[in-house]
Symmetry: C2
Subunit: 671 residues, 2 copies
């Protein structure tokens, strides 16, 4: 016994030594950034932007890692600490760049070599015998000449705002749409749509009007040095209405908090973003005619509403249409399949942009549609590959944005921090969120069987974090005084909500007595009372959704995918030939297969990963609906959409329970 | 019976209809490209380059798909038809752009607004009242002023040559290095190194000298209108010595051709690329001093050799060092792990570039090292995720390069096609390849027990395809007359070898009587005579490799990874404490696990995928060596590196046999 103890002590020492060496290890990685950063060669070549991207990504990944390795944070926090620690490296680099580099002015005054009526794309300039090539960047309105970046170094580390919209947001939004294939999302479809559309619009108008009041006050006090129109205030409302509760959702996921609340928050935040983007573009499109350019103009207003509806429905249609394009016989080469899948979503983006719609919104709906239809046509290998690919892209893009946000706080040269405006904005977003959540929840509760309780409403109120989308919308246009002030305020709001509100999620959950650490379907237990549960699900599912589901399951899925019942069974008999033509031959094959398989594999649809020492057995089933019924008693005749729905939902449940590590959370006795 | 037949006929019709609809489907996807391409809005905004990338990728992915869907090509060809069909869309787009767009000149003559001694980074130009912003692109030597692109449209579709080197090549090369974890590669290590280093150098000098003869001849005939130095010829030799037999290897893989031949070709082509890059940079570095700037200068020559050795060993060291950085306790968050893994290889690239080494070469060795060490430290989820991520990146990058090559054939504005030079180049690469393969094989056969037979040598001679690397090296510098001629010739050589030689692989294989469609270890059978097989492997493995393997297995792996035997068992007893400190605690854990596991899982290390209807059970084991012996008879005391080596190699074998679809190939009776 004594010997054993000594051995243990020794091993403890060894383990501890290993920990220290791990820490040294991680420090070495961090130090990799040093020489890179100091090397002037990189800063002047093509690598400059690549290098900046790398600094942001590496930094934002390493900080949570180091914090975890040094036992400062727990697994979950390090894993999904969006914005939490990820903005730290950006902040540090920002401070260094701001105060550590000499400010060199890039130009003094404009040349006046006015030659012809058309500008050249390339300019060769002879500077004391040496020739330099210049490329055209764009036209600048005379008023903005002095807004051109002054500092060389800052210029190099600054990214074109369009990069955020065109390169970084699409993977984030697509991934959000792609992961919207959840039972509880559809169960709360109506409420989510109401929160996303009505709620965001209400919030936008309330914040806009309140901010207009603040601006009036500032003008009265004399704190406003330039113009600030009503439309600017509304635009601010639209920008700041895009909520992004990633941190909250990560913690929810971790603690197995109530799934309905999770679905409400996640669904709202996803659709929310789309609404906010389109809302902001239609506000920008609101340009009253006549001499009084900033008063109310009914024609322009209706034009704006038209723009909103047009862009939204156009983007929606485009995303949905390109999303359903089916890849049929590519199972033989999964790599090509994945590449095409990835490129099709990119096509959606470009196509929508080319047609004047919003690419990001189209990509969102493309993701939702692809998750629903195209996913079922992919080979098993491709399914996991695409899912993982988009996960990584999403992770990297989000880390980059948060890290860049930290940088922007210091390196953006036109910050206008107005205390009155900032305080006003905080109050406005609080009131806007309140006016969005409580009245809507009251109205929704009139129609809902499964009411949204008070503590849920408080939690939703609390979870109104602002993130990547608000930042991207705000940085897009920082040309005027008002937009610069809005950008600075947005940055502060994002940091405040992510750092303070995000950090307070866990105390808030326990304070509001929200169920955590429970299986999503603990009551009633999933076995035995199958019929009772089915009834419950039937009641809870949105009425509209059930109607659509049955149409989708019986007609759309068989046409667009290789799963679902053959059309020959769902269509009336008089259109037999048409049904045969439209049904994929693989549907019949799938049916045969299902009949032969063990029913267990049909039921347990989620991702089951059993680690077996070094070898892992992964049972990665599809989440799509199958034609077979539970078949425990051998009956297979009835293949109604109702049962398929039950199974789908059951499968999704299973997925939720089998994922992640369980954490036992100190529960106070609640209900 | 009759009814059944009718049903079958009906189903055939239905199937056929479905095929047609699939084709329409794919046409619809193709048509997606139309509006995008015509939309002027996209061409003038930030999207331009993104859009071009998309056109290339989408096109290069869709062409093989459409050809497969319309039953024009088989599975294997469509799957890995690198450069084969992938250059088609580029060619088409190139023709359209070349002959379909008006040629608008971007500039006439340089401004002479010579002001100060320092050029500005930003230029504001007042063109008849409007202000335009220009950004500095770089200095141009006076001689090259007229080489600046003339056509706006072509300018927009042309990518910076550095993009190929800094963005597209790294994933391709990294993936090549990352997949070099094969039994037969290590068995032929010596030969591969000889082919890659000696062979490439020989080939480079022979091609260089022959081309210098051709150039002399051209000068004599009067076909040369500008300077063409000896160093340019050598550079051409270096550029064109990088072989890239992807198509051949894809077909080998498909047909299960001889694995030793596969290993020789694959290993050679991977290391080859690294040698060619470094060789070309050291030739560029060869700048003789004194008045006669293009005669032989011993000092400059030795400087070049020094540069070669310095860059190569520096890049090698840098790649290897950053490759072994171990991620230890990140198993809890696989996404962060994958992101860091990806970023670490990127760090290697940037770090090497910053230190003046070659990033691409560093990335290659980083990939090899990461596959060997870091891979073992990853969680199971991360392993498949990183593998798949790099596969997709490699696939997309390679497709892009081949598609862009098609475009460059038409849109590159400074093509110089000299028939004499081209014919000379074809003869030179043929002779260079011959002088590289046959004498080296003769010398190697003196030392090899398992001789490289004549038909293997012929096949290697035949497989000297040129691909992405030659293109990237040639496009890097097209400033002078000689470089432009070299670029045009390289393009033609790449197209010829990929289209003609690549297409002739299958006939060539059967003509040369090379074993196809056989399991790599059919003779002797893998079971029963275990000891005999072990002896055979022992003999066949390179002597140097065995020495290194034992060192690596006993000391490096336990220190750097969580696998391998604990150092306490491999190090002499007097350094017990050091051994305990350096061994990861997880090594002991792994040992425990292995002891408890079924030995079958240890032996069958490869990727086993059993499709089970809709559900797939993937047993994705690590290929790293384990401490446990085969343990069929319970003995576990001896954990020698020899046995681990056997098991590793056996596992790799298993992987080869369990992968891919078997194709029965019309074999003529050979041996």
């Amino acid at each position: 016994m004594r010997v054993r103890k000594t051995k243990h002590e020794k091993e403890y020492f060894v383990c501890h030594f290993r920990q220290i060496s791990d820490f040294i290890n991680s420090l070495a990685v961090l130090m990799c950034l040093g020489p890179l950063f100091l090397c002037r060669k990189l800063v002047v070549t093509i690598h400059c932007k690549m290098f900046m991207v790398h600094v942001h990504l590496q930094g934002s990944c390493i900080v949570p890692w180091v914090l975890f390795e040094t036992r400062k944070v727990g697994t979950g926090v390090a894993n999904r600490s969006h914005g939490y620690f990820n903005s730290l490296p950006g902040l540090i680099v920002g401070v260094i760049l701001r105060y550590g580099t000499p400010s060199t002015s890039g130009h003094d005054k404009p040349f006046s070599c006015s030659q012809e009526d058309r500008p050249f794309t390339t300019l060769l300039v002879n500077v004391s015998g040496k020739f330099f090539e210049y490329t055209l960047k764009g036209e600048i309105s005379p008023g903005k000449i002095h807004n051109v970046e002054q500092n060389d170094m800052l210029r190099k580390v600054t990214f074109d705002p369009e990069v955020f919209f065109n390169i970084l947001l699409p993977p984030i939004i697509f991934h959000a749409g792609y992961s919207l294939k959840k039972r509880h999302f559809f169960r709360n479809l109506g409420s989510i749509l109401a929160y996303a559309f009505l709620g965001t619009a209400v919030s936008c108008f309330i914040i806009g009007n309140l901010m207009y009041g603040v601006v009036k006050l500032m003008k009265l006090v004399g704190q406003l040095s330039d113009k600030f129109y009503y439309t600017d205030c509304l635009l601010f409302g639209a920008i700041i209405s895009a909520t992004d509760p990633v941190t909250v959702l990560a913690i929810f996921n971790e603690l197995h908090a109530d799934v309905d609340l999770y679905a409400l928050l996640f669904g709202e935040s996803v659709l929310n973003d789309a609404v906010a983007i389109v809302l902001s573009s239609s506000i920008v499109a609101y340009q009253p005619t006549g001499e009084n350019t900033h008063a109310f103009d009914a024609a322009a207003f209706f034009k704006s509403v038209g723009v909103f509806l047009g862009i939204f429905s156009g983007s929606f249609m485009m995303g949905a249409v390109t999303g359903v394009v089916t890849f049929t016989k590519l199972h033989c080469f999964p790599l090509l399949e994945t590449a095409l899948f990835f490129l099709m979503s990119w096509s959606t983006f470009l196509l929508a942009e080319a047609c004047g719609f919003t690419g990001v919104v189209a990509v969102l709906f493309c993701g939702i549609t692809q998750a629903h239809y195209t996913y079922n046509n992919l080979s098993v290998e491709s399914r996991s590959r695409t899912k993982q690919l988009f996960e990584v892209l999403h992770f990297l893009a989000e880390n980059f944005i948060f890290s860049y946000m930290g940088l922007a706080l210091f390196t953006f040269q036109k910050h206008i921090f107005s205390p009155v405006f900032i305080i006003g904005a905080f109050i406005a977003i609080f009131l806007g969120r309140a006016a969005h959540i409580y009245p809507l929840s009251f109205l929704l509760n009139l129609g809902r069987r499964h009411k949204i309780s008070w503590n849920f409403q408080h939690m939703m109120m609390f979870s109104g974090l602002r993130g990547a989308m608000a930042f991207a919308l705000a940085i897009r246009d920082t040309a005027t005084y008002s937009h610069q002030m809005m950008f600075s305020t947005t940055l502060l709001i994002v940091f405040f909500t992510v750092w303070i509100v995000g950090g307070g999620t866990t105390p808030m959950l326990s304070w509001l007595n929200i169920r955590v650490g429970v299986d999503p379907d603990q009551d009633p237990p999933p076995t035995n009372d199958n019929s009772e549960r089915r009834n419950r699900t039937k009641q809870e599912s949105a009425w509209l959704f059930r109607l659509w589901y049955s149409f989708d399951h019986n007609y759309l899925k068989p046409i667009l995918t290789h799963s679902g019942p053959p059309l020959t069974t769902t269509l009336p008999s008089w259109c037999g030939l048409l049904a045969r033509c439209l049904t994929s031959p693989q549907v019949y094959d799938n049916q045969e297969q299902l009949r032969e398989e063990d029913s267990d594999f049909i039921l347990n649809d989620g991702d089951l990963t059993v680690t077996y020492g070094d070898t892992t057995i992964t049972a990665n089933g599809s989440s799509g609906p199958h034609t077979a019924t539970t078949s425990l008693d051998g009956r297979r005749t009835k293949s109604s959409s109702e049962e398929a729905l039950e199974r789908d939902l059951g499968a999704a449940d299973h997925e939720v329970t089998s994922r992640g590590t369980r954490l036992v959370f100190p529960l106070e006795d609640n209900a």
